[in-house]
């Protein structure tokens, strides 16, 4: 199973209520990398059925212009999730997001239902990917086994609201309460070779706070962030897209390492900084990210 979308660019993943036609018709205009069509918390209990029809036809009809379409299904402790998967896979979604994931078994249960739906609706095996949201202390402690649970799993995401409730604290805006979970999740994701996404920033009027939050998770190693409003996209993309200076430096590092390797030189300087082979993968990753973000004009 080798789905090329596993490693696609996912700086922003924008939540949209699948029950609201006004939100579903044109979110691609704002340019998020992924949209998250929500059948879970955003949809009232008595609208779960109607939301599926809305989701199905939006997936089938609306051209999202290459924006990844992730569907957040209802929890595995509800009577809804199996039909959610049938609906989403039949509609043509790209990925399924599992809420409240606490074990590898949760992922495998969803994986089986996704595979069955692919077969039922004539979609190629492995075409639908999975991501797991971690929303509890138990989930954080099981992060590595969750990350390694399925070939379909492209990443994990922290869901801060439920997680802090479980931890018996609350979102402060400083990030202190999320530090352990963030660190644990990103380490587990990297160890397993999957992506890692941060929780939403809920104060829509505090753009400086958002910027600080995104700068923190960027430095920590996250791949992107869940967002709840188009206004948040620009800041996240700005921070997650390599700057011109970073790209030029990465090009120099790659070229110099390639050249010096041929000459048998292992350590040297680029722009006054000591460089060795350990910098190679990081520089390559910067260039790949620049390419995926559409800002790379070089030839590497």
């Amino acid at each position: 199973m080798n789905n090329p979308n596993k490693k696609r660019l996912r700086r922003t993943m924008m939540f949209l209520n699948a029950q609201k036609p006004g939100l579903l018709k044109d979110p691609f205009l704002y340019g998020p990398d992924s949209i998250m069509l929500d059948l879970e918390d955003a949809v009232a209990e008595n609208q779960k059925d109607a939301a599926r029809f809305s989701l199905y036809h939006a997936l089938r009809t609306i051209d999202y212009h290459g924006c990844e379409r992730v569907v957040r299904i209802n929890g595995l402790d509800t009577p809804y999730w199996r039909e959610d998967i049938r609906c989403a896979v039949a509609g043509g979604c790209d990925s399924i997001r599992i809420p409240k994931t606490e074990s590898a078994g949760d992922v495998r249960l969803v994986e089986e239902a996704v595979a069955a739906a692919e077969q039922e609706f004539g979609r190629p095996e492995g075409s639908v990917l999975i991501m797991a949201a971690i929303e509890s202390a138990r989930g954080v402690m099981k992060a590595l086994e969750i990350c390694e649970s399925s070939e379909r799993l492209f990443g994990i995401a922290l869901s801060g609201g439920d997680y802090t409730k479980d931890l018996q604290t609350h979102i402060t805006g400083t990030g202190i309460e999320l530090m352990g979970a963030r660190q644990n999740l990103v380490i587990a994701a990297r160890a397993a070779g999957v992506q890692c996404f941060d929780t939403v920033y809920t104060d829509l009027n505090n753009m400086e706070g958002l910027r600080e939050d995104v700068e923190t998770i960027h430095v920590m190693g996250f791949d992107g962030k869940s967002i709840i409003n188009p206004r948040q996209i620009r800041i996240v993309h700005e921070i997650f897209t390599p700057s011109e200076r970073e790209i030029v430096f990465a090009e120099k590092v790659v070229r110099e390492i390639d050249a010096k390797k041929a000459m048998g030189i292992g350590v040297f300087t680029v722009d006054g900084k000591m460089i060795d082979i350990a910098f190679y993968d990081g520089a390559k990753r910067t260039i790949e990210l620049a390419k995926a973000s559409g800002v790379y004009k070089g030839e590497l």
Partner: protein
Amino acid sequence: MEIRKPAMAGTLESSDCQVTVEEGNGRIDFSLESSVIHQYGNQIRKVVYETLSDLGVENVRIAIVDKGALDCTIRARVEAAVYRSAGQMDDLPWGGAIR
């Protein structure tokens, strides 16, 4: 499909429509309220009749209050109302009668 009990789906929010179905008098009785009825009334009617035909509904009184819904939204709301009326939430025919 048979309309077993009155049911409603959708909202009166912009880009949405509210659909009400109840048992008819042996035929399809269609009524529409829309601020764009003169421009899109025929198109909305066509989508509703096509959807009912796909679902095999021939005996229904159906009322639509449109707030600028796309065709795909109209289909979704009609289907939701019909399946609510039938009391069916699972094992739905995605890609079959729902298309």
